[in-house]
């Protein structure tokens, strides 16, 4: 090992695991929000269109860090009144929950646009064919549109996931013990900031590479049966 980790190796590893957990949890929430946002934006109902549009514009225009801070520190009062309402002693959002909500919210706003593009790319005839066969609207979406959307949305979602993974570092600001926070703790003890931040950077780089490889296989799986244009 080129880097002397002063025995902080296991701590950094635990931090990496936390980073991965946070990224996956935010991804799950973000995908749901993104799908809902895209459905709202492509729905024929004006208020729903407006809602979806406002969500994606508002969230995308404000820094991710601000969302993390706002959701963590801003909900203290809200949670307190909720605890009073439920008659509980105290209720507060953990750093993990706040981070997941904030990052999921941001991922969802960008994913809304990706999913919307994918929905619009499905030929209209497919939906009409579904209607002609007497399928209900939810069934058309679930069985016809969604399976085809994946293939189109996947590259965009992959890029977003890579951004999301790097954004997990922001949650260290509210004290969640993920990779970045663990590195900070190691730096305080060892007084070797460059070493530990470099190791953290390399771990993030490794995670990005793993995500890229995973995405490559997912994309290959999703485009089974489609001819690739000759490269």
């Amino acid at each position: 090992m080129i880097f002397d980790l002063h025995g902080f190796g296991p701590a950094l590893l635990a931090g990496t695991l936390m980073t991965i957990q946070l990224a996956l949890a935010s991804l799950a929430l973000g995908l749901v929000l993104g799908l809902l946002g895209a459905l709202a934006k492509t729905s024929p109902l004006k208020p729903l269109q407006w809602l979806g549009g406002t969500y994606s514009t508002l969230v995308r225009g404000v820094p991710e860090l601000l969302w993390v801070l706002l959701i963590y520190f801003g909900t203290v009062g809200l949670m307190r009144s909720l605890a009073d309402l439920l008659g509980m002693e105290s209720l507060e959002l953990s750093a993990f929950a706040a981070g997941t909500i904030a990052l999921g919210l941001c991922f969802g706003a960008y994913a809304t646009e990706v999913f919307r593009g994918a929905i619009l790319a499905i030929p209209k005839g497919h939906r009409e064919a579904g209607l002609a066969l007497g399928l209900s609207a939810p069934r058309i979406f679930w069985r016809l549109i969604l399976p085809q959307m994946w293939r189109i949305a996947l590259p965009g979602l992959g890029n977003l996931f890579m951004i999301l993974m790097k954004d997990t570092a922001l949650v260290s600001v509210i004290g969640l013990e993920e990779l970045m926070r663990r590195s900070q703790i190691a730096v305080t003890a060892s007084k070797e900031p460059f070493t530990f931040y470099m190791v953290a950077a390399l771990i993030y780089l490794g995670l990005t590479v793993v995500a890229m490889i995973g995405l490559h296989f997912l994309e290959r799986r999703a485009s089974r049966g489609f001819v690739r244009s000759a490269a």
Partner: protein
């Protein structure tokens, strides 16, 4: 919502916004200058020329900006060579650290935008310029780059907005830009919702103005007239 307090502290938030704008403007301009040779190298036919900037771009796009900021602001102090060098007064200053890091960070993204734009220039136009007897340099300066600028401009404006949001991270290395100002005020007033909300609205306004500005620039450069549609 406590509006009076927001109004009372608004000048301090706006001071922060000015610093935010400064950080963004300097870093996206310096980043563009830095990215230009890298983007041209990335679009080159020569494999070695192409591979060289890739390592740089891979590192800066693959790691979080927060880590990069900490590497420059806290990390550099680990080396005595740096602390004794003439650059230390700058590397000690969070302002310059933020500018340096954000510039290096955005340059990696802009280089890829430039590469994509150069590769999207129709080959026929480049071949026509070469057939008219223009040298490689002349072709690059008079045909490829002016065309690539117009193709890459929308992506560049996206990058500027992303940097506007990324500049919030400068608050983690003690700079009092917009987010930093909001956090300082909150530490005094204990009103997180009000001031994060106010800061968010200011970010939205800045982003909106920037988007409109780029729309004007696109019209001035007659971007859609060059799409060949």
């Amino acid at each position: 919502m406590n509006w009076d307090v927001i109004v009372q502290y608004l000048p301090r938030l706006l001071d922060g916004a000015v610093l935010t704008l400064q950080l963004v403007a300097i870093s996206v301009l310096l980043g563009l200058i830095l990215a230009l040779p890298m983007g041209i190298a990335r679009a080159s036919q020569n494999l070695y020329l192409r591979a060289l900037p890739y390592a740089y771009i891979f590192f800066f796009r693959g790691t979080p900006l927060l880590v990069q900021l900490f590497l420059v602001y806290y990390g550099m102090a680990q080396f005595d060579v740096v602390r004794q060098s003439a650059l230390w007064p700058y590397l000690r200053d969070p302002y310059w650290c933020a500018i340096i890091t954000m510039t290096l960070h955005t340059a990696a993204y802009i280089a890829e935008i430039i590469r994509g734009a150069i590769q999207a220039v129709p080959p026929g136009e480049v071949e026509a310029a070469r057939a008219l007897g223009m040298s490689r340099t002349q072709t690059l300066l008079h045909v490829t780059l002016p065309r690539a600028i117009r193709i890459g401009l929308p992506a560049y404006s996206n990058e500027v907005i992303l940097m506007l949001k990324a500049s919030a991270l400068a608050s983690t290395i003690t700079l009092v830009e917009l987010t930093g100002a909001a956090r300082t005020i909150i530490a005094r007033t204990y009103l997180p919702v009000e001031f994060f909300f106010a800061a968010g609205v200011i970010y939205l306004i800045i982003a909106f103005v920037l988007v409109q500005g780029f729309k004007l620039l696109e019209r001035w450069l007659r971007v859609d007239a060059c799409q060949g549609r």
